[in-house]
Symmetry: C2
Subunit: 413 residues, 2 copies
């Protein structure tokens, strides 16, 4: 079963808005065994919409469109689809009631602009929108399903999950398949590929391997589009066979993020953590608290950005800073142990470094970061050199400092 | 001048990796007056690459491809392009030297896999890569320029800026154009559209308006593809004419982010800020410190996640929490004033609320957030209700708390 995604919006083509919808829809389709074969992004222009639809129809039986359904004049998708299907707009009373309800929640009154959104092509099923005012449209015939959804990501997501995916599952027999993702940290793509060369060559023919490099991490994705009872056991065996080869670099074999791994580990040991951040500026705390329920294991943190804050708020000894400089092993260790004391936590992690673009007074190069760790009987710091721009140095520092906590908890050197 | 972007990678089509390259390239091309008319994402498959190229060549004279240049077997782009152009691979010694240098920096030695990356199609100009090992390729004839770049975003970016954009500017006369972006906060797209109806109808024919809704913000983008001396003055006049209509909701007319606005304001008044965060978990500090040079105006912050940390680390009076509950006006005000004292800052902002998915003991609905502000003669809190999921509640709270600081500094109610 093949699908094509078309995202519509001038803002996508001038690069002002990141297209997260294509990625999200691909991933939702993949979960029900539908393979996305192409994604197109085009402008708010009826001719281009029709061309894209004709192209997509040649390759795929499922076409998901997002965008261009807003209430303003630059949105053309609904009227264009109406034309494409030689259809006419009719009032949908359920949708009108939805819009009234939605506006009521926000203490707003119905305007003609809002009411017009309840006009839906007669040949389509209107997809109700519980998060916004624009309904979606579901057109289907013997050969194709064509779905149009709003471009607002959380509206699109809700409508995919509530209506489109269940509806597709009804119309099409879903072919089973399996992906497994093994995530490594701190090794390069080509280093991994060299280590895994023989292993890769010995993979069964219907299993494919892809290397997905990301910031500081490389994911290995094993895919098997096959629907028999042995598939899962085979994939488990393949994942296990990686352990002796690259086990030390792997931090999850089930698609967890680094912060989810930390959450799971701390929950299972009934421990908690605090953070003391300088160059990462709150990014470590933000990453850890992005996990729902993190209040069970995250105590809090200090962002000691100005130098004297490290002394005044965190309690680092002024002489340590004077002697060793603010970006140093000693200060990283002291920040972590001060955080552990202040927050009465089981573990504490710290980061002090030079995110850039400016350097520091001790002439450490941009990208130098010391990670400090304090825990039960543990106190040390490790130096990293990232050599990137500010945003990337901060996100890499965040990831590697948190990884250092993971390694300490597992007693991995 | 029309361009098409093709991003290649199976990982894009199963939704595991967000395609930021398309957006970034569109935006870079837009800056030199090249209009992106379509973007395609396809898998690592030579037939699909050829189909995409043939399609793109019909519409556009510039085609930028990213992805599929890695050293591993799943990467097919170079060999496919070689086939497409009936070309052969030849060793490029400069590229080989680049790779050696790059590996040296990382204390790695050359493997056959690395060396193979120095083989480049003879008909292309090799684009040197200063951030990684895979070179790019630049093919050009009388009608088309076809460029292939690595998928790693910062490698692609450096090669676009250093080689591709200057090269395109040489080959093609760049047509001038102008975009202006006016960013509003706290008003809905349809509300704005209603307010601006007459204004929009009176726009000159060659100026187009688009509404770009985002999280908590709506951007208005005015575009004028015209190259005469009056264009800039016209656009300035149009932007100014918005002020009496929606001035209170506009926080920038020159594309700044909220954090850049705050940075500019604090720098110009020689003031600084500290933060005390609960439900936002470090996200406010992270947003503010994402601005280069933020150490000049950001003192630091406390992430007081566990309830007793608000008392023990931040210094909030325990009785205020007991009497009013942790998610309350009083606690938000106290958190801000404690942060101002502790960090000796001119301003302090705080957030306490329920990010979700779980509720709080006082039965505040998920999405309830109190923003506290303390500053010169100022101390108050404002309540927000976001009613979204955890990630969105946190990011909206972050934005609106920081906006409250902006409003306080400007004395806007």
């Amino acid at each position: 079963m093949r699908a094509e995604i078309i995202t519509i919006g001038d803002e996508l083509l001038i690069g002002q808005v990141l297209d997260t919808n294509s990625t999200h829809i691909s991933s939702m389709l993949d979960e029900i065994g539908v393979k996305t074969v192409r994604r197109q992004s085009i402008g708010d222009n009826c001719d281009e919409i029709k061309t894209a639809l004709n192209l997509a129809k040649k390759n795929s039986s499922i076409i998901i469109i997002t965008g261009g359904l807003g209430p303003t004049a630059d949105d053309k998708t609904r009227d264009c689809l109406c034309e494409y299907f030689h259809d006419e707009l009719v009032l949908n009373k359920d949708v009108l009631a939805d819009i009234e309800h939605m506006l009521g929640l926000r203490s707003m009154t119905m305007t003609p602009r809002n009411a017009d959104q309840a006009m839906v092509p007669s040949k389509s099923i209107a997809i109700r929108n519980t998060k916004g005012t624009a309904p979606g449209m579901y057109f289907s015939d013997e050969t194709h399903v064509i779905v149009s959804l709003p471009g607002v990501p959380y509206e699109m997501e809700a409508m995919m999950k509530k209506f489109v995916l269940p509806e597709l599952a009804k119309s099409y027999p879903v072919k089973s398949h399996l992906h497994r993702v093994v995530t490594t940290i701190g090794v390069s793509e080509s280093g991994l590929a060299d280590t895994l060369k023989d292993w890769e060559n010995s993979l069964p023919d219907d299993v494919s391997l892809a290397y997905l490099p990301g910031a500081g991490m490389v994911k290995l994705r094993l895919s098997c589009y096959r629907a028999d009872s042995q598939t899962e056991a085979l994939m488990n065996k393949l994942v296990e066979s990686l352990d002796p080869l690259i086990g030390k670099s792997v931090f999850t074999v089930n698609g967890e993020t680094m912060e989810q791994v930390i959450a799971r580990m701390l929950l299972s040991t009934h421990q908690n953590v605090a953070v003391a951040e300088s160059c990462t500026g709150g990014s470590i705390a933000q990453l850890l608290t992005s996990v729902p329920g993190s209040s069970q294991w995250f105590r809090g943190g200090v962002v000691a950005y100005a130098e004297n804050i490290k002394v005044a708020v965190l309690g680092v000894d002024e002489n340590i800073i004077k002697t060793h400089g603010v970006v140093s092993e000693e200060v990283a260790i002291s920040m972590a142990s001060c955080a552990m004391n202040k927050f009465k936590s089981d573990w504490a992690i710290s980061a002090t470094g030079v995110a850039g673009p400016g350097g520091d007074s001790q002439k450490n190069p941009v990208g130098t970061v010391w990670a400090g760790i304090a825990g039960p009987g543990i106190s040390y710091a490790r130096k990293f050199n990232f050599f990137h721009n500010r945003a990337r140095n901060i996100s890499l520092a965040t990831l590697f400092v948190v990884n250092e906590l993971r390694k300490s908890m597992l007693k991995i050197k």
